[in-house]
């Protein structure tokens, strides 16, 4: 199988006790040194085929954005491996990473924060082209930039404006153009439409789908809302507290969700002409702290169907049907049946 991105057992922690003084705590009349860390990503594995759209879904704090940023090496992973087109990029230096930079690009969530307010749009697009020497002269780079902007629906005569002169949707198009400027093969999109209005969301999603077809791209798509990714995804991974609890094709996840958390996410969605949200039973309690991870299944305290075993044993991922994996004790593996 030809994977463009293969992530194995990725882990990312953020130390809370970076300085020596911060790590000291006063407990029971004694001064003790303690290490505290936010366990943002706890062993995430997934692979994306060429030309595929893989989506990670989960609520705030589930580690989806951290996963995306670690994959693209904005953060250094603490553990695990990342392969891009078969090459190990887990622990390579910034210089070695440069040759992959043009192949993996990112689209950001906030169209207001992701563009440098002091740069003209044309400079924003030209910067990566010139830096990676994809053009021989400034004129050529400019022409390239215009072409990319036209592609995402920004007229070239608008290119000499500053970002604040554009609306949110247009800014997101500019952000997409910046990512496309380097002719990437994989685009990591971190909630690219969640800050936009509904009608604009649809425009951007359509644009992303068109670009994918036209330029033969692959996407790692991050979202907090299942409804958004339905149309764009080929496969979906549902994340909870830094772990993928369920993966499967879009079809499977929507028509045959297995994990109680996936079910809850689907049930809670408000629906036109329905009483989906109002009928939602609700989850117990709140998301557990990523500082002190639960012992068993991370979801067990909120789960409506939890068993005894859930509280002390971490469930293993198992294949339910073809390409549909669930980490949940409710489903006995094929071997056990």
């Amino acid at each position: 199988m030809n994977f463009i991105l293969d992530v194995k057992n990725l882990e990312k922690r953020f130390e809370l006790t970076s300085g020596f003084l911060n790590s000291l705590t006063f407990k029971n009349g004694k001064l003790t040194k303690e290490k505290k860390a936010v366990h943002a990503v706890n062993g995430v594995s997934f692979a994306i085929k060429k030309g595929e759209v893989f989506s990670l879904v989960g609520e705030s704090g589930c580690g989806k954005s951290t996963t995306a940023r670690t994959v693209i090496k904005l953060y250094e992973p603490n553990n695990g491996e990342i392969f891009f087109e078969g090459n190990d990029i887990t622990n390579i230096s910034r210089k070695e990473m440069l040759k992959y930079r043009s192949k993996i690009q990112m689209i950001f969530q906030d169209p207001y924060a992701s563009l440098n307010p002091r740069q003209k749009v044309i400079d924003i697009i030209m910067e990566p082209i010139l830096f990676h020497k994809l053009a021989n002269s400034k004129q050529e780079a400019e022409q390239k930039a215009f072409a990319v902007l036209e592609k995402v629906g920004i007229r070239p005569e608008q290119a000499y404006r500053f970002p604040h002169q554009f609306s949110g949707g247009q800014r997101q198009r500019i952000g997409i153009a910046r990512a496309l400027a380097l002719e990437p093969e994989l685009i990591v999109a971190d909630e690219p439409v969640s800050a936009l209005d509904v009608s604009i969301q649809a425009q951007i999603l359509n644009l992303m789908m068109d670009l994918k077809e036209e330029l033969n791209l692959s996407y790692l798509f991050i979202a907090h809302d299942l409804s958004v990714i339905k149309h764009i995804s080929d496969r979906i991974g549902v994340m909870y507290l830094g772990k993928i609890v369920e993966t499967g094709t879009t079809e499977e996840i929507f028509s045959n969700p297995k994990h109680p958390y996936t079910k809850a996410l689907l049930e809670a969605l408000p629906k036109i002409n329905g009483k989906n949200m109002v009928d939602f039973k609700g989850l117990k309690g709140e998301v557990q702290s990523p500082i002190n991870l639960p012992k068993g299944c991370y979801f067990c305290d909120r789960c409506n169907e939890s068993l005894d075993i859930c509280h002390h044993t971490i469930p293993v991922e198992q294949e339910i049907t073809k390409d549909h994996y669930v980490s949940c004790h409710l489903y006995k593996g094929k071997d056990n049946e």
């Binding site: 609520e59 209005d197 425009q203 409804s227 149309h231 996410l265 408000p270 036109i272 109002v278």
Partner: protein, 324 residues
Amino acid sequence: MEKLLEVKNLKTYFHTFKGVVKAVDGVDFYVNKGEILGIVGESGGGKSITGFSLIKLIESPGKIETGEILFEGNDLVKYSEREMSKIRGKDIVMIFQDPMTSLNPVYTIKQQIEESLILHTNLNKKERHERCVELLKDVGIPNPENRLTNYPHQFSGGMRQRVVIAIALAVNPKLIIADEPTTALDVTIQAQILKLMTELVKKQGCSMILITHDLAVVSEIADRINVMYCGKIVESSKVSTIMNHCKHPYTRGLLNSIPDIKDNKDRLETIDGIVPNMFKLPKGCNFYPRCNKRMEECENKEPEYREYKEGHYISCHYPIEGER
């Protein structure tokens, strides 16, 4: 049905350096007693400003130009700031979008709930304490006795929004204005909070105006919906009418661009173009440049806001026929 609030030809303009922004431009609507009215639209539609105008929390350079806000028959536009402050937080309360910033971080939850009790009721200390516990219990906060003395940062986002709701409900208001109350929350939490709000509103018999960009959310809990675009109400009717028989092309566009999880189309339907510049609104219908049903007349003549059928108001020259 008895009308609790009636707004007539309300205009709120902002006089900025670049020109006048007609944030709310002549809206007419009403809220019945015990009813949930949803106001939906995209950003820049003027829905939040409408909410703020109702309690006259409009700061310079904004100004309520004309119109009437009849609350139980009294025109709030004519009220002085002093008179307004007796209504705000008592008869009309507001719930804001961001539960992280709408609570004061230096006071305990109890102090913040008590504040409005002290201001607007004659309860003594013991009664106030009991009321606080009761309120927290109502909004579903486990072990309210202990949590009263907590500070806002000790609560999660969803729990904080529950506290905000408890504060809003403390003095049995007649009207709650909720401005995107769940936008900052996760879907599972959103469902719980909205369900809670609906239940409490129905239980207490008060009315609510729910301002949101999410049509799916209002469709589930509101009784009637106003759809706003560029400061004007383009369509208003009962939920079922809006969802199944909407007549305005904008409403239809909004509905169609919502990804439906049961539907299997490859591309999403969109509304072309972008929201127009508020300084340079089109001469005729505001929606003209983006409308896929536009006619010549729409370019120059502004459509009138009229009653299309009983209880169904639109402002469009050429309403769409048929069902969605």
